[in-house]
Amino acid sequence: MLDQWINGLVIGNLYMLTAIGITQIYGVAGVVNFAHGSIYMFGAYIGWMAITWWGWPLLPAITLVLAGSALLGLLLERVAVRPFARQGSTILLLTTIAAGLILDNAAQVIWGPQTQALRNPLPHWHFRLGNSTVTLLDLFILACGVGTALLLHLFLYRSRAGWAVRATAQDREAALQMGIDAGRVSRLSFALAGAFAGLSGLLVGLYFSNIYPMMGASATLKGTTAALLGGLGNVPGAILGAYVLGIVEAFSVEWLGASYRNLVAVVLLIAVLLLKPRGLLAPRRALNPEPTAGTFIPHGRPLRFPRWAAPAAAAAAFALPLALANPYPLQVLAIGWAFALMAVSLNLISGTTGQISLGHAGFVTLGAYASAIFTSRLDLPFAASLVISPVIAAAIGVLLCYPALRLRGQYLAIATLGLGEAISLIALNWDAVTLGPLGISNIRPPDFFGYELVSPAAQYLLALAILLAGVWIVHRLGRSHLGRALRAVREDEVAARAFGVGLSRYKSIAFGVSAFLAALAGVLLAHSYSYIAPDTFTFALSIQVLTMMILGGRDNIAGAVLGAVLLIALPESIRFLGEYRFILYGLLLIVMLRFRPYGLLNART
């Protein structure tokens, strides 16, 4: 018992250091900072270099970490937040995700993808408390956490700068009019939040004795969960939320096993989003104020092509295998078509209906697993699985998402992220059906009535045919009354609802069709890779697909296809880009949103 409480408090302290930063940034910038975990990871690496390479003692190392990660926080504010402040919070969400992607993959390039050992330079003193052991590091982490919380409290409530921060968090416009330099407040908050995140990263590294480039992802997830538990923007709430999360986790690891640690956090995240999206401490909610007129964000209009352009492009794509002797481009393009299908399907949710989904990989995973299980373990023919698997995946997907669909904007985005994670964590833990972390191998190649499609050309044609079917479905839907209703939801949920467009129904329709198509892509990929595991389709894939869609242009089907083909084909054709692929995606996302937010195939109106 005592062990779990101590454990929970120590871990809670670590989560607190990230959660207060996330909540603070939400307060001043209105965005859940998805690059937070990356700063945390950089902090850990800075400390690791200081301790392991240069042999610094702990305190100077911590000072360097604080300074370095505060600078990184400032850089993030300058590059990924300030230029987009006017574009709304969902765009900011994307730019911080992009920044995180860049930082995580930059770390991989700089320090290598492997896990590094981090020796704890503190003396290994420990003492017994009842049946449990408390180490000096535990006490040090507690001191850091409590000390930081106290300092932050003093800063926020006892200094003029803190006063300005609180005022800006409450009402940015009013604060501006009162002469508060909101830019300075924003920079200050990002620097502070960055410093705390870096410190937290170093302490976590010391606590678990190792660090790795992708360690930030779970920190962002945990910090966001804690911040949501306390209510986004609420600093004392985030502190409470972090301890709640730490203690709940410590107990569930004891009772269920270590592999459930992340699943518990994800379940808690989803539960709080569904039950108390404004946090445990929130008062009852009132109606949203009416927006004032003229706050539209123009979307851009699709570029016009002649009528024959689409059929001609499709015919050329079908004829390509005749013209190519080398099978390699066909293999790449077959994957490209599957990704194009994902981008087209995501476009229905994000481009047409205006909901940000960060869990698209979850739908792909559902489809891939369903088909792998049906064909490998139940011996169903591929042709049957091609239809049944996406239907089942869509049904499960909609069922999972349905309760979250009444959330808006970033809240829905985070819920979809949580659901996507939950799907891969279930695949990881449900050994009996999914074979757990081993994954399912030897998945048969696609076959129709005994004819196996093994050649690259055959698989290419199959992927292309399925993509075109998907494109046709989304195109027809977009031109029907449904397209109008979905776009109305995107433009103004209140007005849409007032005219009979039930939000749950139409968001479910968008998610259902989208999940069906994404799962179809998952089936294709499972049978073309012949092996899938819980980490085959990850959050990174969701972001990759989102980048493809934004590159091509929101609410633009041809754009989604073009974006996917470019992003799959370019890193393959330019060899040296391979290693930097995700950095490229991140940069592209930021550059596009900055300079051509309406995408390649949409024109400014």
């Binding site: 927006p291 964000i297 027809r476 109008r484 433009e491 103004d492 609802r497 009979g500 329709i509």
Partner: protein
């Protein structure tokens, strides 16, 4: 029984008692105007009637069926259409698409929400399939609705017709308000709720809007209207209900309400000397100082 009947509704927002037992009735074909100073609870009342929000106490009946507490999209299906105080058009949809969206609840056999979960799933699946297949019946319905939408747009003369393919965000403010009204009309509402239809419009535009409302009135449209411009209220309303601090202060025929001393007091305060009241009573077109302020935009 009245077409629309609001019975003794109360609404609290935290400590604020926004509506304290408001009742009102709207008969078939009638136009009722709700007036009152800022903060009187007019828009709150509208939000309750359109089911955007539900009352803490009291009942709202439409066509003999109780509607309070319904989700707004079902209220729309029962025949309630509204405009919003600041205008809420769908900015990236064209004018025509905006109006067609107004007819969403009239796509019978397509968009009917099922009742039980199984029915809802089935009807959503059918809607997807019909959306993809687009059978002939469906295309004809769209064509009919499009023709009707253009007809509705034509009541604003050449204000919207030449622009029907433009995205709504490119319109002027007054044209957005017109688009909003056209969208509401496309629902073929039993009751049309107009929240300050002429707010922010200049005198010419206001006169045009007044003409449109009179025309709708002649066609038998039942309307509930929030308005600050007294000239317009006088011109269109059969009855006026004056709200103040969440209660019905006065109600009755426009002429009678206009000269009621309690109303003048609500607008200009108790200690007011006779000057503004006199101006109003002397047949002026405005109630008094504050009404005049909101009217002269």
């Amino acid at each position: 029984m009245s077409l629309l009947s609001v019975r003794n509704v109360h609404k609290h927002f935290g400590g604020l008692h926004a509506l304290r037992g408001v009742s009102l009735d709207l008969e078939e074909g009638e136009t009722v105007a709700i007036i009152g100073p800022n903060g009187a609870g007019k828009t709150t009342l509208f939000n309750l009637i359109s089911c955007e929000d539900s009352p803490d106490e009291g009942e709202i009946w439409l066509d003999g069926r109780r509607i309070d507490g319904l989700p707004p999209h079902l209220a729309a299906a029962r025949g309630l259409a509204r405009t919003f105080q600041n205008g809420r058009v769908f900015g990236n949809l064209t004018v025509l698409e905006n109006v067609l969206l107004g007819a969403h609840t009239r796509l019978r056999g397509l968009t009917d929400p099922g009742t039980r979960p199984a029915g809802a799933v089935f009807s959503a699946l059918r809607e997807i399939v019909l959306g993809i297949v687009q059978p002939r019946r469906f295309r004809e319905l769209e064509a009919e609705l499009t023709a009707e939408a253009l007809e509705i747009l034509s009541i604003f003369g050449d204000r919207l017709i030449p622009r029907f393919h433009q995205p709504a965000y490119s319109l002027s403010y007054a044209n957005r308000r017109r688009t909003e009204l056209a969208r509401a009309l496309a629902l073929r509402p039993r009751v049309l709720l107009l929240d300050e239809p002429t707010a922010g419009m200049n005198p010419t535009e206001t006169d045009e809007m007044t003409e449109v409302i009179l025309k709708l009135q002649r066609q038998g449209q039942s309307m509930l209207l929030i308005e600050h411009k007294l000239e317009m209220v006088m011109a269109v309303a059969h009855r006026v209900v004056a709200l103040d601090a969440g209660e019905v202060l006065v109600s009755g025929p426009p002429e009678q309400v206009r000269s009621d001393p309690r109303l003048i007091e609500a607008y200009v305060g108790k200690t007011a000397d006779t000057a503004p009241a006199g101006a109003a009573a002397a047949g002026g077109t405005r109630f008094g100082a504050s009404a005049a302020l909101t009217a002269e935009v």
